[in-house]
């Protein structure tokens, strides 16, 4: 019997300790929360605004709107609503989030504080340049360090996310090819292990996508790749380290072959965090590479954005960057905004890029410094290899190590058990972990891609390894029902995604009206 500090038994003998069905549906700290629309009381408002003077309107033929249909809530209701919702989320602040290729590392709060300085947050993008010299200086400083870290001569900060950066890079390649008079180069080689955004980007830009198979070692098959080169090849889109967590050993040979055939080398830099501060992409023969600031430089993911995807360029592609960009001369910093100047193209979005993310990324770079970045990428790789080594005898590693920042397993260890990768992931949730990336990359069966990042402690990794190992053992013992019923301890159990897609309900509608469904 456990005792509390006053000596009373905390659980009287004979108590029923089974988890009850509660009247409210709440379960202790897990509180059910209605939609804001279901908490509406007309006339209630969470903001106090002054009375509006009666002034003739200047709306011409446009009629003032009768009603929007928004619910009325008070401030305490709103605070409670979002606090309760937040408590239904797993986050990197909560625990290990080993989502391979997504890089969930600690998000320093200093970065948040810096991004909120009024001199950055309360500055309008169209103020006179003389009043934003510090903002332009910050962009210039970040550009400088991104060029230094990659060894590349040019960078654009414009893209709003990694996939947007891919667009910028592939547009630059298209522009450079057209400039050379080689509009006929329309084929892009993309390894089968690539992120889905790579083929989607190439296809959106009118390139045909030619997949390259992976070799038995999880890397690009150099001979197969070389055989696909030809006068219609625009280039290759290659992730390095790749999505199997492996460094492409033949990368120089790949780059040389592509260049020799007249193409360009686009590198998906999503996994730059594995090598930042230790390896210079410029030395790998790369022509363009995007950097996800939220992965390598710790800007928060925010439940799906905002991202920021600067792209570094080689000498060959440097003339073909999108506007705007910052230049520096004797009069200070200046934005080059207009397009049509020389071979620059664009623009790709409104204004000058994701400034709020630039501040955070620069704070991260300055905080780490040269020695900190060296240690960070080293620890990221060490942590991944440690997890791989510890799990090697229980799970089935897809390829031989060493791995880089993430380690890949497939579902051979589950063969014959009736338990799937998805089941393992769901059971891991009950153990208090966010699952690893599942079923990606596509080059192995039932992939489990684990990326611990450098901001996890050894003790945390040991606990994760212990949980995963015991689940693997349980699966091999044939306890299929346990897995298929998982998760059990979460705010919601498994959700019916098929029903959601078959008859989509994409917004709240008042109960009196039939739910809105797409055809």
């Amino acid at each position: 019997m456990t005792m509390n500090s006053q000596g009373r038994p905390s659980t009287p003998a004979g108590a029923d300790t089974a988890i009850p069905e509660t009247v409210t549906g709440n379960r202790g700290l897990q509180i059910e929360e209605a939609l804001i629309f279901e908490q509406d009381s007309p006339g209630r408002c969470g903001v106090d605004l002054p009375e509006v003077p009666a002034t003739p309107m200047r709306l011409g033929a446009v009629k003032p709107r009768a009603r929007v249909g928004l619910p009325g809530l008070s401030e305490p209701q709103v605070v409670r609503h979002y606090t309760r919702l937040s408590q239904k989320n797993y986050s990197i602040d909560t625990g290990l989030y080993p989502l391979g290729s997504c890089t969930m590392k600690h998000n320093p709060r200093l970065n948040e504080k810096m991004a909120r300085l009024p001199g950055f947050a309360d500055v309008h993008p169209l103020q006179p340049e003389s009043t934003v010299q510090g903002a332009l200086e910050l962009m210039d400083a970040l550009a400088h360090w991104l060029k230094t870290l990659t060894g590349m001569p040019a960078v654009t900060l414009a893209p709003a996310a990694g996939a947007h950066g891919e667009m910028a890079g592939m547009m630059a390649i298209r522009a450079a090819l057209d400039h050379r008079g080689e509009a006929g180069r329309t084929r892009v080689l993309v390894p089968e292990s690539a992120h889905g955004t790579n083929p989607a980007t190439a296809a959106a830009l009118g390139f045909s996508v030619d997949p390259i198979p992976a070799g038995p070692d999880g890397r690009v098959d150099l001979a197969a790749m070389t055989a696909k080169l030809g006068p219609d090849v625009a280039g290759i889109m290659l992730t390095n380290p790749n999505t199997c967590g492996l460094f492409e050993r033949d990368i120089r040979a790949i780059a040389d072959a592509v260049h020799g055939a007249g193409g360009y080398f686009y590198c998906d830099g999503a996994n730059f965090n594995a090598i930042v501060g230790r390896v210079k992409p410029a030395d790998l023969g790369i022509d363009a590479m995007h950097i996800n600031l939220h992965k390598t430089f710790s800007t928060p993911h925010g439940g799906g954005g905002p991202g920021s995807g600067p792209v570094v360029f080689s000498e060959a592609l440097a003339p073909f960057v999108p506007v705007p960009y910052v230049v520096h001369d004797s009069n200070g910093f200046r934005l080059v905004e207009g397009n049509g100047q020389g071979t620059a193209f664009g623009r790709m979005k409104a204004f000058h890029g994701q400034m709020g993310m630039f501040v955070r990324a620069l704070a991260y770079i300055l905080s780490h410094g040269a020695d900190g970045l060296w240690q960070a990428s080293g620890d990221a790789v060490l942590n991944a290899n440690y997890v791989m080594a510890r799990l090697q005898d229980t799970l089935t590693a897809s390829f031989e190590g060493p791995c880089m920042h993430e380690c890949l397993f497939d579902d051979r260890f589950l063969k014959g058990t009736g338990v799937t990768t998805l089941d393992i992931a769901k059971a891991l949730i009950d153990e208090g972990f966010h699952p690893m990336t599942m079923y990606f990359p596509l080059v192995v069966h039932g992939a489990l891609l684990i990326e611990p990042t450098e901001t996890e402690s050894k003790a945390g990794l040991d606990q994760f390894v212990l949980a995963l190992k015991s689940l693997a053992v349980r699966a091999k013992e044939g306890d299929v029902a346990y897995f298929q019923g998982a998760p059990r301890l979460t705010p919601r159990r498994r959700l019916d995604e098929t029903a959601a897609a078959r008859k989509p309900v994409l917004r709240w509608t008042p109960a009196a009206e039939p739910a809105l469904a797409a055809e």
């Binding site: 033929a61 709103v78 979002y82 600690h106 993008p125 103020q127 009118g206 979005k349 450098e454 917004r507």
Partner: protein, 451 residues
């Protein structure tokens, strides 16, 4: 280094478990020539919080914060008062540091927020459904055009001369590289453009903005009907979301797609980003929509829950056949938007819109009394255009020296000779609920002196 939990003892133990003697050995697949021999040269070593704060604060101090001076700068980004609750809630770690909700059982917070956000956007725009957000208004606009191309199987977009030039350029960039035609009309500071006669059998869509970049508000009901007759879609762009609290929404005018910027609600100016793109459509177009969508469903116990849905449109499933390459949305900015709108509610949002309009009416009346200043607009919401007796850019510079941000010279958005040009004497000014009497006094006084 404060962010790295491993101790030297840990590292040794871990290397031993792996069976190597150094971390360098783990990098052995990297060609030797590409490996640095040591930490990056030129970058100082790690720095404490205080040191980093000093460096960044020094840069921040060189900028003039909008809130510290009278400011009338708008044109697609607006200074509004954001309630304290918004930024507090957004910084809860469970929202801030979560990833895309791939595991719905432990992401119901983010998912319910997105479902509520989609509903709010649909209500504001007067449309049937909205997605879970885009990068910003300009990329929303470009994606809307490409969606119209897919739906109509036509390849020509007509862009109004009242469309924000950044939105126009974002769309024409895609037109160039993705392969469709975008016909951009000359700048139309006084309106009066004939878009209908340009619609032909190749036209997929007409893109108009309301209020337009010069501030005019218009009823596009007739244009919507003409588009429908000719088999083209009407895309309505909104760069000032607060206007939707006062104006007839695009949905009621017959818009097929609404592409909007949501920065005005919940989000700081941030020197241009991150912002939040809004994207709303008629119900029948849902399956051609770009971006993430959140849908309602039930869990294994029959309880209501939410998931990402219709992902068969998306790149991680469809790869080269996806409707768009978009991977992220603007989740956290969408959350800020949603919280601000929850606080405002029906009463607050419509009142806020009226206050904005009244402030702009007051400002226009004040400025029309300044010698040499002519107010161009007969209609506007919270932003309008004036002409000055000389180049607006110079006037804005002079006023900036007096610590007044007087607005956006049209020449900044429409450089000489491009799409109409000849707008050197045009100045675009915005007023919001943050604009005070004394701000207006200062502007009027300074303008009277320099003109």
């Amino acid at each position: 280094m404060r962010y790295l939990p491993l101790t030297e003892a840990d590292r040794h133990q871990m290397l031993a478990s792996i069976g190597v003697s150094s971390v360098d050995e783990l990098f052995r697949d990297v060609p030797q020539a590409a490996r640095r021999s040591g930490p990056v040269e030129g970058l100082p070593n790690f720095a404490g919080e205080l040191e980093v704060e000093r460096q960044l604060s020094a840069m921040a101090a060189k900028n003039v914060a909008v809130g510290s001076v009278p400011s009338f700068v708008g044109c697609g980004a607006y200074k509004h008062h954001v309630p304290a609750t918004v930024d507090y809630m957004v910084q809860r770690g469970e929202f801030l540091t979560a990833y895309t909700p791939y595991q719905p059982e432990i992401s119901q917070g983010t998912l319910q927020v997105l479902f509520e956000f989609q509903t709010q956007v649909a209500l504001l725009t007067g449309m049937d459904v909205a997605n879970a957000s885009m990068y910003d208004g300009a990329t929303s606009c470009a994606e809307a055009v490409m969606m119209a191309n897919r739906l109509t199987r036509r390849k020509k977009a007509i862009l109004s001369g009242g469309l924000h030039p950044h939105y126009r350029d974002t769309t024409t960039t895609d037109a160039r590289f993705i392969g469709f035609e975008a016909v951009a009309m000359p700048a139309a500071p006084r309106g009066g453009e004939d878009l209908v006669s340009l619609i032909d059998a190749d036209t997929s869509c007409v893109v108009v903005q309301n209020p337009d970049v010069f501030g005019h508000v218009r009823d596009y009901t007739d244009l919507a009907q003409m588009c429908q007759t000719k088999g083209a879609l009407l895309i309505v762009v909104v760069t000032e979301a607060v206007s939707l609290g006062l104006l007839t929404p695009p949905g009621e005018m017959g818009a097929d797609i609404v592409a909007a910027e949501g920065q005005s609600l919940g989000n700081a100016l941030n020197f241009g980003g991150p912002y939040v793109g809004l994207f709303a459509v008629k119900e029948k177009y849902v399956r051609q929509m770009p971006g993430r969508l959140c849908g309602q469903t039930v869990d294994a116990d029959g309880r209501r829950g939410f998931v990402l849905t219709l992902s068969t449109r998306e790149q991680h499933i469809r790869r080269e056949k996806a409707t768009s390459n978009i991977c992220t949305n603007a989740g956290l900015c969408a959350l800020a938007f949603s919280i601000h709108l929850s606080l405002l509610g029906e009463e607050g949002f419509t009142k806020l819109a009226r206050i904005n309009h009244v402030k702009a009416v007051q400002l226009a009346d004040r400025l029309s009394g300044v010698k040499g200043v002519e107010v161009v607009n007969e209609t506007f919401f919270n932003e309008f255009t004036v002409t000055l007796p000389r180049a607006a850019a110079g006037v804005v510079e002079e006023l900036a020296k007096r610590r007044i941000l007087a607005g956006v010279p049209a020449s900044r958005l429409f450089p000489n000779g491009k799409n109409g040009g000849q707008l050197e004497d045009h100045l675009i000014l915005a007023a919001t609920e943050t604009t005070t009497e004394s701000d207006m006094d200062a502007l009027v006084k300074a303008l009277s002196e320099v003109l």
